[in-house]
């Protein structure tokens, strides 16, 4: 078989590249299919204090639109809780520190801490424009087993060592 002329081959490649450049323009947002499952029952109190729901911020709402689960934001009047629930292991359940960095905060003093009930939390201080927030998070599975980092949770969930649904609890308090 005769090889095509080099310039014809180049023309074909250029047309192919143009098609590749234009194809994503027709892509439609893959929304709607996710989050169709029934919303979970969120807690009404936290450490004895009643919780009231808050609207998601603009950043959280954008994230929630493509999150393969449910997200709720609540407050007990002093602290803000962000609850994320998923039914399958997913990269989207990333550490809260990633979210704060994405919002322009710097992260410091990251460490593991135990609360009054001896539960282990991953905590850090997020700071932006002089505003400091103490943030602690953990992921809890259906049996109450907890994980303090997303990677260990992901592998436990993926290997069937932990059963869902899983709830990531992030507690933020202004310092």
């Amino acid at each position: 078989m005769r090889k095509p002329d080099p310039w014809l081959a180049r023309l074909g490649v250029v047309l192919g590249l143009a098609a590749c450049a234009l194809a994503p323009l027709g892509r439609e947002a893959d929304a709607g299919a996710r989050g169709s499952a029934v919303a979970p029952e969120w807690p009404v109190a936290w450490e004895g204090r009643p919780l009231r729901p808050l609207a998601l911020g603009a950043f959280e709402a954008r994230f929630a639109a493509r999150f393969p689960g449910h997200i709720a934001r609540m407050t007990d009047g002093e602290r803000t809780l962000v609850l994320r629930e998923v039914r399958e292991p997913t990269r989207m359940l990333h550490p809260a520190a990633d979210c704060y960095r994405a919002l322009g905060y710097s992260i410091a003093e990251a460490r593991l801490e135990r609360d009054a009930q001896a539960q282990l939390w991953r905590c850090f201080v997020a700071e932006r424009e002089g505003r400091r927030i103490r943030v602690c998070e953990r992921i809890v599975d259906a049996k109450g087993e907890a994980f303090t980092d997303a990677s260990s949770w992901f592998w436990a969930a993926a290997l069937g060592q932990s059963t869902g649904p899983w709830r990531a609890v992030t507690v933020a308090r202004a310092l």
Binding site: W7, R10, L17, A102, D149
Partner: protein, 279 residues
């Protein structure tokens, strides 16, 4: 006597196509993959990933600019087709795969397009490696590889501490040393050390012209150096934690920095070793 040669319009197009510079071809490939660069740029701008990739991008650009006079005017057809196929795959990935996997296909497509205009005998693997490292991969590596790396590190550290005569046990990523519980936490996974080590390997191989085959043969040694470095760092810190109530952040960072420098120096030595490996 001057002679005017009138070209048919088709011939003029043909001439224009054949006179397109290699860098312009690469630019066309890059432009066709714009959604991937937009995603990577957004990840970089929103700060949700470490900006380490900028160092790899800078090294890659310097390498290309320095090699620009050597690039071939006529690309090799086989590599052009391979690059076009990868570009198509990267575009399809936008619809079906996570953005990072699509972006990996995109940079490999661009690296393959670069291969099509590179002179014979030039190393390509380190260039492709730098292209992958230029992506915002650290956060994803931490998510997927962080826990397995910590388990391996904790296990080998446990053996090491036992050899040193300390009572050490491991459960998951938690170690019990001399009766004290020490958790091998996310920063101890060594993911950033992995990135730095492979970055050093790619930079040294690219700029000193290490052949692809020689580089491939040395990559396992790079991985072993990272593992040894991370185990040493972890063992030292765990041993300190087991004997003191609290080890300061400065000690953590100091030990980490010393080990990182040692690992990178080892990687440079491994990649530069042996003159016969150079192209």
């Amino acid at each position: 006597m001057a002679t005017a040669i009138a070209l048919h319009p088709l011939a003029r197009w043909q001439t224009r196509f054949e006179s397109v510079s290699p860098l312009a071809w690469l630019g066309l490939h890059a432009a066709a993959l714009w959604p991937h660069w937009r995603w990577a740029g957004a990840r970089l701008a929103d700060g949700s990933d470490d900006p380490l990739g900028l160092a790899a991008l800078a090294a890659l650009l310097v390498w290309v600019v320095r090699r620009e006079p050597l690039l071939r005017g006529a690309p090799r057809q086989g590599w052009v087709y391979a690059a076009a196929a990868l570009t198509a795959l990267a575009t399809l990935a936008l619809f079906h795969l996570p953005p990072l996997l699509g972006a990996v296909l995109a940079v490999l497509s661009l690296a393959t397009a670069l291969r099509s205009v590179m002179p014979s005998g030039q190393p390509w693997l380190p260039v492709a490696g730098l292209a992958v490292l230029a992506l915002p991969v650290v956060s994803s590596l931490q998510f997927y590889a962080g826990y397995p790396l910590r388990v391996v590190t904790a296990e080998i550290s446990t053996w090491l501490l036992q050899l040193a005569g300390l009572a050490a046990e491991r459960s998951g990523t938690t170690m019990w040393v001399q009766g004290r519980q020490v958790i091998v936490d996310a920063p101890c996974s060594g993911v950033q050390m992995v990135w730095m080590a492979y970055f050093c390997a790619c930079v040294v191989a690219a700029f000193s012209g290490v052949r692809d085959r020689a580089m491939l043969a040395r990559l396992p040694a790079v991985g072993a150096l990272v593992l040894v470095g991370n185990v040493v760092r972890n063992s030292v810190l765990v041993a300190l934690e087991a004997q003191q109530s609290q080890v300061s952040d400065a000690v953590h960072q100091g030990v980490g920095l010393v080990v990182l420098v040692a690992v990178c120096a080892g990687v440079v030595g491994v990649m530069r070793g042996g003159r016969d490996a150079q192209a």
